[in-house]
């Protein structure tokens, strides 16, 4: 555990020194600019538009960090051979992977917190009040954070066996697919299996995909939050459980690959 924390700390330091957090400034500027723009443009909907914009941009920026840093995290160590001196140290390889994951998680956490505060400030600037929406907003932001961690785990998995360019491609693909899974289910539900029995196979395949692919929409409550709807407690809780299990699954797969790998 000690070693994991040390590696995580160094990973965090790496992303800080790479000026990853600079994007926060861009984010805050964008947000404030956006809020001014929306204030001009809309009459009743400022708050809704603001929350939509803020949370969406938070997801977008976080996603870019997760993918671009996540895919380079391990590959860079192999490519530059910094991993050689690391592996000779008294650490297990799984500690290395988990440490890397937690380090980037910390970076994303700082990002999300700052962005969240930025959203609150912009919101306050617009509406001159803070009400119960702030709490729902926090929940929604937390779920976005989990979604980002899931993306990071994917990026890490891909980068454990492929090049950064391919890993980025895979990660983006995964993200797109992950957001379309509800449509897979919808489509499968609509197949008239009773009328056309030979569609049964297609339906089973679609259901299989729906239940195994990452359902990123489980974490997306942006629009509902913008409408001031609370996130259902059960869905929130199950979303967290889903996250824990899926990340566990991805990390164990990554560790399995990484443990057996030869570094040339």
């Amino acid at each position: 555990m000690r070693q994991i924390v040390i590696i995580a700390h160094n990973t965090f330091r790496e992303s800080v020194r790479d000026k990853v957090l600079l994007n926060l400034i861009i984010f805050v500027l964008l947000l404030i600019g956006g809020s001014l723009y929306f204030g001009e443009l809309t009459i009743h909907n400022e708050q809704k538009a603001m929350i939509n914009l803020g949370l969406s941009v938070m997801l977008m920026f976080g996603f870019m960090i997760a993918v671009f840093i996540g895919t380079g995290l391990v590959y860079k160590e192999i490519d530059k051979r910094t991993i050689y001196s690391m592996l000779a140290k008294p650490i297990y390889r799984y500690e290395f992977i988990i440490g890397k994951f937690l380090g980037l998680s910390a970076t994303l956490f700082v990002n999300c917190v700052v962005m969240f505060v930025g959203i609150l400030i912009a919101l306050f600037y617009l509406t001159r009040q803070l009400d119960a929406t702030a709490f729902v907003l926090l929940q929604a932001a937390f779920l976005i954070y989990l979604e980002l961690l899931l993306t990071t785990a994917f990026a890490l998995l891909f980068s454990s066996f492929s090049t950064p360019a391919l890993s980025v491609f895979f990660s983006v693909l995964m993200y797109i697919i992950g957001n379309f899974t509800p449509d897979l289910k919808l489509f499968a539900d609509l197949l008239q299996v009773n009328l056309y029995p030979n569609l049964r196979v297609a339906q089973i395949v679609l259901y299989g995909l729906y239940y195994t692919l990452p359902n990123l929409s489980n974490f997306n409550f942006i629009s509902r939050t913008a409408h001031g709807e609370p996130i259902p407690g059960a869905a929130f809780g199950l979303g967290i459980v889903y996250f824990v299990i899926y990340v566990g699954l991805l990390l164990s797969l990554t560790v399995m690959i990484f443990e057996r790998r030869n570094f040339k």
Binding site: R2, R17, T82, A88, N262
Partner: protein, 310 residues
Amino acid sequence: MDNVLEIENLTMDYLVGFWRKQPTRVLDGLSLSVHRGEIFGFLGHNGAGKTTTIKILMRIIYPTAGKALILGKPIEDVEMRKRIGYLPETPYFYDYLTGYELLDYFGKLFGIERVTRKKRIQTTLDLVGLADVGKKQLRGYSKGMLQRIGIAQAILNDPEVVFLDEPMSGLDPIGRREVRNIIASLRDQGKTVFFSTHILSDVEVLCDRVAILKNGKRVAYGRLDEVQGRDIGALEMVTTTVAATGVPALTPFATQLRQTASGLHLELKDADTLDQVIQLVRQHGGRIVSVNPVKTSLEEFFIKDDRHHH
């Protein structure tokens, strides 16, 4: 004798080729042992399997067959790694860290306590001559400085045995001498040094024993003079000017004799005649400037080696 490293029948096959992968043997049944307190030279051409061996020992790659013990422990033992040091070939470290931070990071991973760590880092930086640039980010380090910070991180934990992969490569003559000195001082501290090189002279200067690797196979193993078959080989001698009569007197002993402006330059046929030749030079009013063995390049060594074995 106490062995800090024992390698037994180590074999490594790489799969090469993109489509239909063919196994290629890069290390073939290597066995050797290194005694405590000695400097062991691991000699071979580039691609002979030296780095592969060291990478197996460091668990960077997994061998196809064979096993190895370091300090009596199997190489997968993680605790044992607190007692060893490793310098990778052409090392590269996190360039966003300063030299000090890198050592601090690795020191933490070694589990060295804070106070001790600080002290160790300082003395290590002093030893490798980087005390002045410890606060500078590694991206600003020259190749030689990286090599030295690499040595620093390898000896940071006060290891019992140090594995150095090509520690002298890419260094200028002064740098090489400094690294040699560091290695020698490690032995003086009672540490075991296992280092790989493709340069024979490094081995000759430092090593107690060597193993020579060729195409993944061990072709020679033991004390350097044993390996070379006690054949010290030709000697090269430089003298001040000798009397005219001296030249014909010396000619029978030399394979080559050249008159230079400042004296004579000759190569002796037989090292055993050295005393006789010195005598003759003195008799003819000359003075010995230097006597050196004629450097056997690794190339020549292998030619000779082949001759020995076939």
